[in-house]
Amino acid sequence: MNVRINLRAKTVFELKEYRIVRYLYYVLIRGYYLALLLLPYGVISLVARYVLHPFIFNKETRFNKYIRSALLWMGGGLHKAADYRAHLPIMRIILDYLRHHVEPIKKRKKPLIYLGWCVSPEFMRAFDVHYIIPEAFSVTGSWLGRDVSNHMLEVLESEGGSIESCSASKFAAGAYFTRQMPDPDLIVTSSHPCDSGVSFYPTLQNVTRVPMYVLDTPYGDDEDSYRYFAGNLKAMISFIEKNTGQKIDWDRLRRSCEELNKTNFYLQELTAMTRAIPSPVSSQQLTVAWAMKLMGSGSPHLTEMARIMYENAKKRLDRGQGWLREERIRVIWWDVPIAFVSLYPWIEKEFGAMIVGGDLMGRCNTPYVDTSSEESMMLSLAKVHLNASMVRNVRGTQELFMDEFEQIIAEYSGDCFIFVGHNGCKHGWGYGRIKKDICKRIGLPALHMSSDYSDSRNTSEESLKKQISDFFIGNGLA
């Protein structure tokens, strides 16, 4: 389906098949990757700060819409030269991931699997397959600007899709209907963390008519639950083996898991470093790291990225330096971070506000994978899955969310709490009173906002900024 989009003003173009992924792969990411290869990091930092930053920072315009979101994801021009070194492996991760889209478009040599975002890609590395994470499209696809995001959602809604679902699912469905993603041979997904994922994947199966495996997720958080999930992971392997005619390569899985352990070490250290006052780590970095983990978990590039971030942060920590020159407000942001990516650099620059303890996605608190045997690896991977960012907090009882919330409040010296409730996260809205009571008991000023990452029709970036400004000013924080 070719769709004509009126992308503001008089600019009209046809959103041809696979246009988004081709633009990302051949233009945007390669362009940035080449710049990183060719230019010294000092020059990149200066260009980012003094040329790109004013161009992208305030709002989306017709001139910056095709690069603004991507650049804001990459730090919004606020990174220091040393931190731009981490962008080279980031670009490699994204390019590697986008190759799974581009190659099957050209010629299908390997089976293509749609992978639910809560299923870790290490398993895919142990097979000779391509994989696409449909929900990740809402991150990468939105790099083409707000209008493309809204259009994807409108396509889905015009097809009769569920309007109240998470925009990540809606965007993915819109991308499928507009043929931005090649057809899969298999679908592998899970029944967590929320209703959107549970209800969206049967639709993908219904339209693609390919076999689907669902990793059923336990509600509890005990050894029995982990064993149950490990059993489901084994069944998933059998499903992939049966439907692709391949055998899992346990050595490749082991290597991926060892790589993941190294990555998690650095990311956990980075998360812990935000305890320091001033914090030497920006939550922008942790959120980007989460997104890269989504696309390239188990990749050596991911470890490289995390290592560079860690070493730079460690140096700042040792020197007693913060990420910001002057840290004025410490914010606890215990929910979906990606309301609008521009918010993080904006609150850092405008208010000297740092998000500490990581947000719901960026906070890395993942168990290590015991690679000593196949059995131990499966059980550890079950724990990794069930303790992944967001998954561990929202799939079960409120204690899984609130206990960690209280721990962050106790350990990270926050001055206030911002809850950016995502439209799709009904479970998060379902315990509003409990959250409010905790903040009240502790005396932590709290702001509760409604938003939707890909859907500016829900709440505009400007409106969120205004609410945050009023909140900081009203509570004497700014």
Partner: protein
């Protein structure tokens, strides 16, 4: 008072005299939330299982302090009633991870310290196949252990077998009633059927069987329940409002089959009485005739069920109702529409509403417009049929 009026009266209230009598006789009453909770287990403990509901709720003022407006209105109404103490007669409540909204009710209920003391979360898998049966059995074992520990009772296998027999009997009677809806002029209407199912899930199962026998005897002795020319299958999750169903019936619709939680999803299962009760319960509950949209791997079977029922019950149309902010039914509607466009199932009307939300005028207009389309279609189909027959006769 006729038996149908009696059933409607029981269905329209939270408490009823059967429950009161049971309590006076020393029976404990345990509330439960979802069609996947094995009520036989509660019954085998010597308790009365009571299907939770929010009928007659006056608002959501108290619950709104816990939930947001984009949470399910049924959940908010139900929790509001709990906060007001309307479920004070319950000795325990069993919740299920049915959806994001209901599972948070378990959290809020505990947090608000609203009684009773026994609050248990029953985990049901989101899939039918794979290791699901094992997980379901484990959840049952946890519920059994919790009931035994909290109330100092023992749930013996023989008691469980007896409970399975009793509930099979109740489900069998409901199925026998349901069979009668296949008739050209069904003797029981959709709104009456809803009232019957709501009533029998609010009384002890022994009384429920006796009531159902009376109902069958009553409806067999009367003609059709009401006149109508558009036969519909209704699909919905939480449906408790008989008045709402009457909007369809008053517009000329006949609800011949349904997949409600207070409907086929509840009685559309027969458990094997001759095998290990735990195995029978897991197989029976997971393999229900029609599953809930929360079951991720079962849409092909659900659509096959709708298509089959449409044939068996001569349905002209399918109506799907969802409560606002329900992801499960939101995406299910999208799939049903797709299948309808392909001609797999009859035309679909999707209605979105709030629980006890009113707006009957708007809904009635949509129903009337849809029925008009169906009638036009029927006329065209008849005309084609007539012309085909004519041609056939000419050729002969």
């Amino acid at each position: 008072m006729t038996i149908m009026e009696k059933m409607a009266e029981i269905a329209g209230a939270i408490d009823n005299h059967y429950l009161k009598e049971a309590r006076l006789a020393g029976k404990r009453v345990i509330g439960y939330f979802c069609s996947y909770i094995p009520v036989e287990l509660i019954h085998a403990a010597g308790f009365v299982p009571y299907r939770m509901r929010a009928v007659g709720s006056a608002g959501t003022d108290l619950a709104d302090a816990y939930y947001a407006p984009l949470n399910c209105s049924f959940v908010r109404h139900c929790f509001d009633r709990a906060l007001r103490g309307d479920f004070g007669f319950l000795d325990g409540v069993v919740f299920m991870n049915g959806c994001d909204h209901t599972r948070r009710m378990y959290d809020n209920w505990r947090y608000s310290k609203t009684g009773p003391e026994f609050l248990h979360m029953f985990f049901a898998p989101h899939v039918m196949g794979g290791n699901a049966a094992g997980a379901f059995r484990e959840s049952m074992a946890n519920l059994k252990k919790a009931l035994e520990k909290s109330f100092g009772v023992t749930i013996a296998d023989d008691n469980l077998r007896n409970s399975i027999r009793l509930y099979n009997r109740m489900r069998g009677l409901l199925l026998a009633l349901d069979e009668r809806r296949k008739m050209k002029s069904p003797p029981v209407s959709g709104s009456e059927m809803l009232g019957i199912v709501m009533a029998v899930t609010a009384v002890p199962v022994e009384d429920a069987c006796a009531l159902l026998e009376e109902v069958i005897a009553f409806i067999d002795g009367r003609g059709d329940s009401h006149s109508g020319d558009v036969r519909i299958i209704m699909l919905a999750g939480c449906m408790e409002e008989a008045d709402h169903l009457r909007l369809y019936e008053d517009s000329g619709g006949v609800i011949v089959s349904d997949a409600f939680c207070f409907g086929t999803r509840l009685y559309g299962r027969a458990l094997d009485e001759n095998i290990d009760p735990a195995v029978a319960l897991a197989a029976g509950y997971l393999g229900s005739e029609i599953s809930c949209p929360r079951m991720m791997d079962d849409f092909p079977r659900r659509i096959e069920w709708v298509a089959r029922k449409a044939g068996e019950y001569s349905a002209d149309a399918v109506v799907v109702e969802k409560l606002k902010f329900c992801d499960m039914w939101g995406w299910e509607i999208e799939r049903l529409r797709r299948e309808s466009k392909k001609g797999v199932i009859p035309p679909v009307l999707a209605i979105e509403r709030e629980y006890l939300g009113g707006a009957s005028g708007q809904v009635r207009t949509r129903i009337q417009a849809f029925f008009e389309q169906i009638r036009n279609r029927q006329e065209i189909d008849d005309a084609i049929l007539r012309s085909e027959r004519a041609a056939y006769y000419v050729r002969k």
